[in-house]
Structure formats: structure tokens, C-alpha cells
Amino acid sequence: MTSLPVDWFEGWYRTTHPRVVAAVSVACGDPDMARDAADEAFVRALSKVERVGRMEAPGAWVCKVALNVMRRRMRRISFEQKLLRMPGPVGSTTEPEPHPELWKAVRALPERQRMAIVLRYIADLTEPEIGEVMGISRGTVAATLATGRNHLAGQLAGLGFPDRYEEFRHA
């Protein structure tokens, strides 16, 4: 890429930002925190746009940053709530996300499976990119995804959605 990647950034931002918000939202269960985390990640991307624009997988990088921001904030809120013995912020009052039963089931998965599912199907990362974000090998990613899909289909079947989500086993 030889031209200034600012033009590139706008298109990439428009496509990728909602994807990252959706992924982080499913990962943490708080759409407002997800927006904050995604915003911060994209701000960092914009502040180093030349470097990010030349990355092989900028989507994976921005996902990784957003998830790190999310984890940091969750730790801080948890610490503050313990320290101050105060209730946390109430849940988002924005329009409910579509398919809540599905995302609730995803959130109930063990963390590694949850992250793999989120990064594959919402963030639309490839298996090598997921491996890079999660710090695991490509083979482990594939295995984790398969296990996660099976668990997810099983959970949804238990919730009364056996047909609707059966296809997840094979996605």
C-alpha cells in the first residue's frame, strides 16, 4: 500500500466497527461497555493508521485491542464494586439485541470456546487470525470451535431450540 491509508480507514472502520462491537458485546454481555471498548480500539487504530493500514490482519488486531480493553474495564469495575460495595451500572436500555437466547447460550460457554465462536462467527476472523488473537495454535482453534459449536447446539436444544440451531454443529 503506497497511498495514505486514511481513505482505507474510513471504509474499514464502517465495516469492522459494528462487527467488533457485536463480538465484544457477546463476549462481555454489556453492549455499552462493548461500544466503549470498540471505540477505544478504533481510536488507537486511527492514531497509528499508517501502521494498522499495513497490517496483514487489522481486524484481528483491533479485536484483540478491544477485548483487552474490555477485560481491563471488567476487572476495574469488579474491583470498584468490591471496594465500594456499590451496585454496578444498570444494564443497557438500548434496543435489545436480536436473538438474545443464542447469545446468552454463547456467553454460557467456557471462555476459550466462547471467544473462538465470537471471533469466528461475529468478528469474521480466520482460524489463523483467531489463533493470533487468542495465543493458541490453528489446530487448537479448529478443535475449540468444533467443541464450542457442539456445546452450543446442545445448550440451545436444551432451551427448546433444537431445530433452529441444530445447524450450528456443522457451521
Binding site: 462491537v21 457485536a22 481510536v43 486511527l46 451496585p87 436500555t93 438500548t94 457451521a171
Partner: protein
């Protein structure tokens, strides 16, 4: 049968509707760079503050320095040079307002907020808005909001502006558009920024908190009173008078005398000015139905001259502290109404003692207001 890819796409489309504009991102990126820079040179900032303290008093009084803006001489349109002026630098006078947002004024400070946010000022009843700017401490006394705030209140994002003076608590040094402040993390994900020069404590919460925090700057009234250079009244401006007091306004502005059937500008939480205009007279009475929330309004220039009526909300006693000019007519600045609008409320006292209220609408270019102020006779 729903495919997981379709479900994911539905979720992405759901969030796509609230993707911030690139403007937001740019403002925040600038904010972040400055925070890093400021954090890295905290000692340097402290030294700079000490040096600055020797030039300006940083106990809050610097914000109340008055500029002696004098009126035009009778034979010329150029104002005489003020004798004691602290000119604001052009950079300091520049405000950052993302497109689609408007500035919200509070005392000497202002922020920018999306125009669909609700402004809660004074003791308004609160309609439990999802997004709000809370102006002053009284906003906590509403029947349905604030007292339990933020826990239990169904707000997604808010910014609370409070007057502040004194020493901020220990925290991270930040710099936003030349304003050095202290950032302190609060409970439940809130952050409070303390700005001594602006006399402002700003608490932010939720998705838009950081974006809004990055737009902090001087209020429209502060910029009115702190020109960046000598003020002169353009020669082609025309006179507009009411009850012994006159101002000069651009010739393109419509001039209107309000009758009993005309609502007074700004009633029922409406914007005082929606287009540049010169108006005079008290206007008719209006009845507002129920709670009328304020909203961020566009910065629009305008003049409304009317009989001065004592207001218990804005207790005002003419004194040297609030006097902007002493001749050819005395002009005083009323305490800010703090409803967010870019309005400077002045009182001019004619030689015969009549008091005229002048609501000065302040547009994006503070020079126009400065020129009108300089033209009061």
C-alpha cells in the same frame, strides 16, 4: 432454520446503527494522544502550572477577568482600544464540535453533545432520558432521576457539569485543547475531570463519556468577553434601539418588534434564537404544557432587547464585579442561566435609569457578539 452467520449478521446490523461518525473518532484520538503526552510529562505540566500561576491567578478568578470593551466613537465605527485586556489566543478560542453536535454552556465552560440528548437544568422534573447532560447539582432533585443516580437510573450515558474551585483530588493529569485537568476514576465506571481554569468538574458515564469529555472548552459567554484582538464595529451595521438603549447589528438581520401575540424568545425551553435576528419588546405570555426538557441548540447570533424584570432565579445587583462597561451606558452581565444555551444575558442602564435586558445570542464566531457588545450605547 437460522444460520449462525445470519444471526451474527443481524447482531452486527443492530450495532451498525450506532456506529459513531469518524469525527467522533478523530476527536477522541486527539484526546488520547494528549492524555498520553500529558501523562508522560506530568512533572513538566506541574512546572508549567507553577510558571503560569505567576502570570495568572489559578484560583478561579482568572476566568472572571473582565475585558473593557468600549463602544464605537460617534464619528467612526472603530472601537477605541481597551485599556486592560487579556486577549485570548486564537488557539484557545477555537472549539471542537463534531458535526451533528451542539455546544452546551455551563458557567465559563462548555462541552459538545449530540443534539438528541436531553439537558436537565435546575429543578426540572426528569423524564428519565437515556442520554443526558446534567447541568448543576439541582438536577439531582427531580422526581424520577438523579437521587438514585447512577445506580438504578436507566441512563445509558450522561455527563454532569458542576461548578468547581479549589484543589482537585489526586489523579491523572490530562490536557484537552489547552485545558489542563485531573482525571479521577469514580464508582460504577464513572470518570470525573476537574478543570481549575474552566471552574468545572465534569463527570462522565457510558458510551459517549470520553467523546464528550474531549470537547471541553470555554463557554460562549467567556469567549464573548475575551476577544482575541481589538474589537471594531463594522461600518455598514445598522442601529437597533429599544427604550433608550441601542446596539448595532448586521444589515442582513431582520428587525422585529414583538407584540402581545408573539411568544417571548426562548420560552418553553425553546432555543432563544434559531436564525440571526434583532428583536425588541417583551412579547406575549406563553403557557408551556408539562415538562419541557432543554436540548442542545445551535450556536446562533441574535439580539433580544426587552424590559428588565427582576428574576429570583438570576438574582442580580449591579456592582463593579459584574459591570462590563460604565459608559456611554452602563452594561452588566447577569449570572448565567445555565440551561446550556449560548446566550449572554446583559442589562444596560440608560442615562435616565431605565434598565433594558439584552439577550445576546452567541454564534460560532464570537467576534459578532463582541462587536454587538461593543456597539451598545
Amino acid at each position: 432454520m437460522l444460520d449462525i452467520h445470519d444471526a451474527a449478521q443481524d447482531l452486527i446490523d443492530h450495532h451498525r446503527r450506532r456506529t459513531p461518525s469518524l469525527d467522533f473518532l478523530s476527536v477522541q484520538a486527539r484526546f488520547m494522544r494528549r492524555r498520553r503526552r500529558a501523562g508522560g510529562v506530568a512533572i513538566g505540566v506541574a512546572v508549567a502550572l507553577l510558571v503560569a500561576a505567576s502570570v495568572y491567578r489559578l484560583d478561579g478568578s482568572a476566568t472572571s477577568v473582565k475585558v473593557n470593551v468600549t463602544g464605537p466613537a460617534s464619528s467612526t465605527t472603530v472601537a477605541s482600544t481597551p485599556t486592560t485586556v487579556h486577549y485570548l489566543s486564537a488557539a484557545a478560542a477555537k472549539q471542537v464540535t463534531p458535526s451533528g453536535w451542539s455546544r452546551v454552556n455551563f458557567d465559563d465552560a462548555s462541552i459538545a453533545a449530540p443534539t438528541d440528548w436531553t439537558l436537565l437544568a435546575g429543578e426540572n422534573e426528569c423524564p428519565n432520558p437515556k442520554y443526558a447532560v446534567l447541568l448543576g447539582a439541582d438536577t439531582q432533585t427531580g422526581s424520577n432521576c438523579g437521587a438514585q443516580f447512577p445506580a438504578g437510573a436507566p441512563m445509558v450515558s450522561y455527563v454532569r457539569l458542576l461548578a468547581f474551585e479549589g484543589q482537585p483530588p489526586a489523579g491523572k493529569i490530562v490536557e484537552i485543547d489547552g485545558h489542563t485537568g485531573t482525571e479521577v476514576a469514580g464508582p460504577s465506571g464513572t470518570e470525573t475531570y476537574y478543570f481549575r481554569d474552566l471552574g468545572l468538574a465534569m463527570t462522565v458515564y457510558g458510551s459517549y463519556g470520553a467523546e464528550i469529555a474531549s470537547t471541553v472548552g470555554w463557554s460562549a459567554t467567556y469567549l464573548l468577553l475575551h476577544p482575541t484582538g481589538p474589537v471594531s464595529v463594522p461600518a455598514n451595521w445598522v442601529e437597533f434601539s429599544y427604550d433608550g438603549v441601542s446596539v448595532r447589528v448586521p444589515p442582513t438581520w431582520p428587525q422585529k418588534t414583538l407584540g402581545p401575540s408573539d411568544p417571548a424568545p426562548g420560552v418553553c425551553a425553546n432555543a432563544t434564537f434559531t436564525t440571526p435576528v434583532a428583536e425588541r419588546g417583551a412579547g406575549g405570555s406563553s403557557s408551556c404544557n408539562g415538562f419541557q426538557p432543554y436540548a442542545p441548540v445551535a450556536d446562533v447570533d441574535g439580539v433580544w432587547m426587552s424590559p428588565y424584570v427582576t428574576s429570583p432565579v438570576q438574582a442580580f445587583t449591579p456592582s463593579a464585579d459584574n459591570q462590563l462597561r460604565s459608559s456611554p451606558v452602563a452594561v452588566y452581565l447577569l449570572p448565567p442561566r445555565n440551561n446550556g444555551q449560548p446566550i449572554a444575558q446583559l442589562v444596560a442602564v440608560a442615562p435616565d435609569g431605565d434598565m433594558v435586558s439584552i439577550d445576546l445570542g452567541l454564534g460560532a464566531d464570537p467576534v459578532i457578539g463582541q462587536e454587538i457588545l461593543a456597539s451598545i450605547r
